[in-house]
Every structure is written in structure tokens, then in C-alpha cells.
Symmetry: C2
């Protein structure tokens, strides 16, 4: 009998400020929803509240756009200071569209506008960057959760990304600890004893999409989702498992 | 109080043959797991068993490769007859890699090898094509489910796709009925009354990824997942909602 996968949004997490104790809020909210943590449970957390807790907010008035940022801002109808931040957060610009700059982020993944965000931040003249090292943020949060609960847990930090070829955003992993990024099924055989065509499953990204569906995008009322029933062993992984090298990428 | 999203793999669905009554198997398996269907429940079904039930199996011995197929087969180390099938299923070849042909499928989406599959099919000299019209397959299955249960249900047909930029496959939608492909949040405002940066959520693809995680990739033991708690109204959608037009696509 397979167990179901159950994703429960946590209620009552307050608006996060720099320096807040996320783990305290997460454990308090879990307790108020009568979620008794078990080994192999996972918490999925939106990057926004991690970035806020880590103080990754930039006042746009302090940002001086370069000539290149001014050019790109004209092309994309964006605030030149925002474009400057996007460039500073990136290794390379991959594509420029009417209203989007697709980059390879310094963290290694390809995404729109380097994950720099102006929604749900007050006042509007500020922007929120991704956490500086999301794997390390996940590791720190997991360690604190495990110390306080005595359970073996996973932590997954997610963002919403647009895709090539398809409309709409989906949740994707940006940092993780205590769970695998990918699950390698090479060597497993199919029902008729042939080797599987599909060999590597992006299990963390599948969970990221699932949790994002539960969080919704409209607000930060539910920035954390509790997960029970993840179907693979919680082997410790990291983001680099999920990043395709430039050499094997047909679309970079 | 938000409700949890619960994904339950259905046990005991037998190996599917052409002409099999999928709906009968699904309802029987649900009953055996004591799942009492409710309005707004969704069944997520892997395309493989739909294709098999619809008889979309091709004997490779009947396939005559074109000169172009022979060329591409050499480049990608694939069976030329398989490449010929891939080309017949496609509108255009987008990229060719060492072991993959990325195409725009006749159904409109971009994917590897046109979704033509050789795993879990006996004997090995055969290949399985995607359903001819997966939205219509989903509609037909949903209609039959609704007639037999009296409930308003959604049906989502999924496959596993590789991605640009990232390692590993994730579940994605290939056909749907009775549920939205995307959810448009334009006009909704964020916590501080600004218009949302993220406007369109690919809700069906997020659910596809979630269900795929539950199914696993190693076998067809769990080709159907029952879903309760999808957080958006079950407005009738279709695949075209999820397909980016060539004109707005920066990666085609």
C-alpha cells in the first residue's frame, strides 16, 4: 500500500522582518494546526520569507545603474536601478524579451530577472534579492528544526519560475537540505526488464511545484507548507544536482 | 483554514491493453481504497495507459525511415525507425543533441523525442505514441466518470518531460478536462496593494509534477493518482492555455 502525499499549508505565519526566527514561527504554526512532526517530514518554504529574514532588501535609491543597465532598461521597460540589481545578481544574460531579462543567476540556475522581486515589499522603492546561499539557508533551518524536534527532516526553499515553451509559472527549487535534489533510477528496469528510458527524476522540483500549488501566488499568507509522504529516502542533496551544465544544455 | 492537498496513488490497476475500460479500473481501485469521490476531486492519469487503451502502439518493423530520419538516427544513436516515428509526430525539429531530438510535437508542445516511448512495452520492437488528442481523451474519461459517479470531477493526463537548464524530468500536462490549465491572477493585488508581478500560474503543470512524484517513474504500478484539495475552482480548461506561442517564445 503506497502512502498518500499530503501537503498542508501552515497558517498564521506573520509578515517576516530581517532577523526574525523562522523556525520558531514554523514550529508554532505546526503545533497550532496539530501537526505532530515525524521523521522524513519536509518543510517547503518560499524564498521570499528567507530573503526577508536574511535582510536581502535593497533600497533602489542607493543603486547607480551602469550604461548597460540603462540600455537594457529601455529595451525591457524596467526601472534602470532594478536592471542594475539584476545584472549584479547574474553571471550572464541569456535572452532579452519585451519585459523580461533571462539570466544565468550567480547561483547557477537560469531564471527571469535574476529572481529580483518587487511584490509584497514595502515601500515600493525597494527590491528583494534571493538568499545569498539558499542551500546553506536550508541547511541552517533544517539543523535548527532537527535540534528542536529530534526528528530527521528535509527543508526545500522554492521560487516561481517561468518556462521556455510554456505559459505560466511553476514552483521550482532554489535551495535544499536533508532531501535529494534528483533521484537517479539508472539501473532500475521497467516492467519488462528493460533499462528505464527515464533515468533521473527531478524529485525536489516536483515537490516544489506541488507546494507552490498549495501556497498560491496571490499573497504570503501561506509561505510554508508541511509535507508528509515524500516517496524517496531523505538523502542529503543540494542544488547543484539540479543544474544542467552549460556544455550539456541545448538552450543556452 | 486552508485544506491540505492530498495525492493518493491508486493500487491494483492492471497492465492496460487496447480497448480496456480505464474508467472501470479507476472506479474499482478507488472503491477498494475506500476513496469516496467528492465534487472537485481530480484524477491524474499517465499518458502511457491512455495511449495503450487507445491502441497507439506501432510495430517498428512496419516503419520505413526517410533519408532525414537516417541522418538524424546517426547523429543521435537512435533506431532510424524510431526517429522516423518521432518526425511523423512533430511539426518541427527544435534542437538535436547527442541522444535526444527536441521537437515541437504536432499537439503544439515542445518535448524530447515527440513523447515516443519504448519502455514498458512488450515486445521491444514496438513503440508507443502519445494519445491522438489528449484533451479529448481527458474529456471522454471525465464524462464517463461523471456519469457513473454523479460528481463534478477533473481529469489531467500527464507525461514526464526534460527541461532546458535543469537536470531530470518532471511531470507535465499533456491533456486535461474539467479543470483549468492556468489560473490568471491578473488584477489581484499583493499584500501591499500593488499589482502582482506574477500573473499566470500553470496550475495544471504544478499538479502534474505533484502527481508524477507520487507515481514514480520506475514502473506502471501506479498510473493513476486521486487528488483532493486542488485549491482553484474546477473551470474547464485545455492544453492550449499552457502553450506559449512561437512569437512570444525566446527559446524556439
Amino acid at each position: 500500500m503506497h502512502t498518500p502525499l499530503v501537503l498542508s499549508p501552515l497558517e498564521g505565519i506573520p509578515l517576516i522582518q530581517a532577523g526574525d526566527d523562522l523556525v520558531g514561527f514554523i514550529l508554532q504554526a505546526s503545533e497550532q494546526q496539530s501537526i505532530l512532526l515525524q521523521n522524513n517530514d519536509i518543510f517547503v518554504i518560499t524564498q521570499k520569507i528567507i530573503s526577508k529574514a536574511e535582510g536581502r532588501i535593497v533600497d533602489l535609491k542607493t543603486v547607480e545603474p551602469s550604461a548597460y543597465a540603462l540600455d537594457l532598461a529601455g529595451e525591457t521597460h524596467k526601472d534602470p536601478r532594478l536592471v542594475e540589481l539584476i545584472l549584479r545578481e547574474s553571471n550572464a544574460v541569456i535572452r532579452v524579451g519585451h519585459d523580461v531579462i533571462v539570466v544565468e543567476h550567480k547561483l547557477g540556475f537560469v531564471c527571469a530577472n535574476a529572481g529580483v522581486d518587487q511584490s509584497n515589499i514595502e515601500p515600493p522603492e525597494r527590491a528583494l534579492l534571493l538568499p545569498e546561499d539558499p542551500d546553506e539557508s536550508a541547511r541552517r533551518i533544517r539543523q535548527q528544526l532537527e535540534v528542536e524536534t529530534g526528528m530527521h527532516l528535509g527543508v526545500l526553499i522554492i521560487d516561481s519560475h517561468g518556462r521556455s515553451w510554456r505559459v505560466g509559472v511553476i514552483g521550482v527549487s532554489v535551495g535544499l537540505s536533508g532531501m535529494p535534489g534528483v533521484v537517479d533510477l539508472r539501473g532500475k528496469s521497467d516492467l519488462f526488464d528493460r533499462t528505464l528510458r527515464i533515468t533521473v527524476v527531478a524529485a525536489a522540483d516536483e515537490l516544489a511545484a506541488a507546494a507552490s500549488l498549495v501556497m498560491g501566488e496571490a499573497n504570503e499568507g501561506t509561505p510554508v507548507v508541511h509535507v508528509r509522504g515524500f516517496p524517496y529516502p531523505l538523502e542529503d542533496g543540494n542544488m547543484s544536482q539540479l543544474l544542467r551544465s552549460r556544455e550539456t544544455d541545448l538552450f543556452r
